[in-house]
Symmetry: C2
Subunit: 354 residues, 2 copies
């Protein structure tokens, strides 16, 4: 375990074992006497890595038949575009839920291309809750939502129901909870939270939706093109995929999704219990919608800020400064964060109150 307690919101903590393997491959990969950074993406050694990464995503999430798993580039922000290119018909409309900065950016991009129906929003309360009980028009080309809102610390505990094409940006909670992939037509996630380093984006696409929009889709935006080339239509982000593969291997070895769901719940319980019982702190998100990944909280007395900041700094805690949209603090507790790190933070909070 690293001596630093790494609460970075993303790119974020990765397991030490993975980092050791990742470093070794930079000098000598697969006993080739070459670095993984200087070999062809079409070499036998790397094709094996890419194939393994895909197979392990399928294993972790029990991806059913009829779905393609792709590793592409450009982050969720490119995912916003790919969603539209592949799913929004020329004169159609799409339904979006607006639950934070990233939902809102997805909507902004979609609005360039067509008619967007914002079927629910928590903007009225600075996105501190997840809207419930809204209708999604059945004639929408698709419905899009963001499963976890990194910046505001909210998370859907139950996913909205919709019989049509369902799209979810799971960038910040994928691999931390059980999901039924068959309930979705498209899932995408930037790698840099629970999957690996920045530079790769994971797509899980139901093959049935290929070309659904009827648009003339640019090759780089077309799921069908990428699926037909097994994510190697152009040079993939080799190293990001390699480290993601190592991390998937590590997670599977440790018990897979149930282990990480359990850990996420334990970490969240520890920290939120302290936030709720310590009079010097308050949570900023609605209790029932609190994220297991990103806990947002604030001091009840701002004059303690300097003292608290000094204390967590001295405890070797890193990355808990809140996002400017919310203020206060944000503890991002991604898959590789050990329970010990949460203990250290909770102890600092207790000490502030002693």
């Amino acid at each position: 375990m690293s001596k630093v307690h790494n609460y970075s919101a993303g790119p974020c903590i990765l397991p030490q074992e993975v980092l050791q393997q990742a470093a070794a491959a930079v000098t000598n990969f697969d006993n080739l006497d070459l670095s993984i950074l200087e070999i062809s993406h079409r070499s036998t050694s790397f094709v094996k890595v890419a194939d393994s990464a895909i197979a392990m995503v399928k294993e972790m999430l029990s991806v059913p038949e009829g779905y393609s798993v792709l590793f592409l580039q450009g982050g969720a922000s490119t995912g916003f575009l790919m969603t539209i290119y592949n799913l929004l018909t020329e004169n159609g409309k799409a339904a979006y839920s607006d639950t934070g900065t990233w939902s809102s950016k997805a909507i902004k991009e979609a609005q360039r291309f067509g008619n967007i129906d914002i079927v629910s929003s928590s903007k009225d309360k600075n996105y501190n809750y997840i809207p419930k009980g809204f209708d999604i028009p059945s004639d929408a080309d698709f419905y899009h939502f963001t499963s976890n809102n990194t910046i505001f610390g909210t998370q859907y505990k139950e996913f909205p129901e919709f019989d049509g094409v369902k799209v979810c940006d799971m960038s910040s909670d994928i691999f931390s909870r059980q999901i039924n992939v068959a309930d979705f037509d498209l899932i995408y996630a930037g790698a840099q939270k629970n999957l690996g380093p920045a530079g790769a984006t994971l797509y899980i696409v139901k093959d049935e939706i290929f070309g659904r929009s009827g648009r003339n889709i640019p090759a780089m935006m077309d799921f069908k093109v990428h699926a037909s080339k097994e994510s190697m239509f152009n040079t993939p982000p080799v190293y990001s995929i390699y480290v993601a593969m190592l991390n998937l291997e590590h997670m599977l070895k440790n018990g897979g999704l149930s282990t990480y769901e359990n850990l996420a719940q334990q970490r969240a319980k520890m920290l939120y219990s302290e936030i709720d019982s310590n009079p010097l702190f308050k949570g900023t998100a609605a209790i029932e919608d609190r994220s297991n990944m990103n806990a947002c909280f604030a001091l009840t007395d701002d004059s303690l800020k300097e003292q608290f900041d000094k204390m967590w700094n001295e405890a070797n805690i890193s990355g808990i400064k809140g996002h400017r949209s919310v203020g206060g603090y944000r503890a991002s507790m991604y898959n590789a964060l050990p329970l010990e790190s949460v203990e250290v933070l909770v102890n600092v909070m207790k000490k502030l109150n002693s």
Copy 2:
């Protein structure tokens, strides 16, 4: 120097010194006791890396005032799209030269968006030469060409003249030759040849062309958006940028562009001299258009294939199998390839003829 003589066409050889530094940062970056893979792209340490990388590109290429240097994702294939989104007006036309697989892909993408005038092509001879003496219509929104054709081993020795907006895909020869950036409005290059590992794409954009197309440009496709956020509109490919920065530092320390231009000429001279003087080999590209980066050649007697393949394999040469579009052999000689590696290949060729 690596024991393997790495002629990979890309991702390709990187300097050993760079690889050692790159590996070290995966376990402990900037004495943070954290990996470069697990820190925020907005951390002081990484922002310094990104700023340095940009400054060093400007230094290497003497980029004049009024240009933005961006590190984005998606490879040249995304560059094809960004070119169009930013430069092709709704009813305008663009001029392209077709000199190989990548030019041809750029044209295919452009044709989805508008009227494309192919002003020159070497397709008639399987792209084995660079067309000269063609006209570019003065009313074209822009003119696009590919400075070096990796697959067919041809390279513009003089760049075509055009008074309008000039765009060049320099993926495979950037940093290996002197260029006058002021002659271009847009230069782009996938990192994975002379710059760094796969996953980052370099753009050098004249600020005057921002929004030139008048289109409603998606944020991820908009140079202005990326420039205004200093390449951090969304999470950048952190590690690829870091290694590119290390490599730029290494190249500048070794004398910058003139050193690498000189080396490229020396390597090319050594290899092409052998190809031309050894009766068992022939070059496949027109002599005056031969690339200094990718030398394509074939055996004059195919029955020697098995023997030659065995010999270069035993000499620890890697990656010289030709691309399926040309056949034969391709020796990619990017910036980090030492002259010694060329000597080894030339000696194997001589030995085959002895």
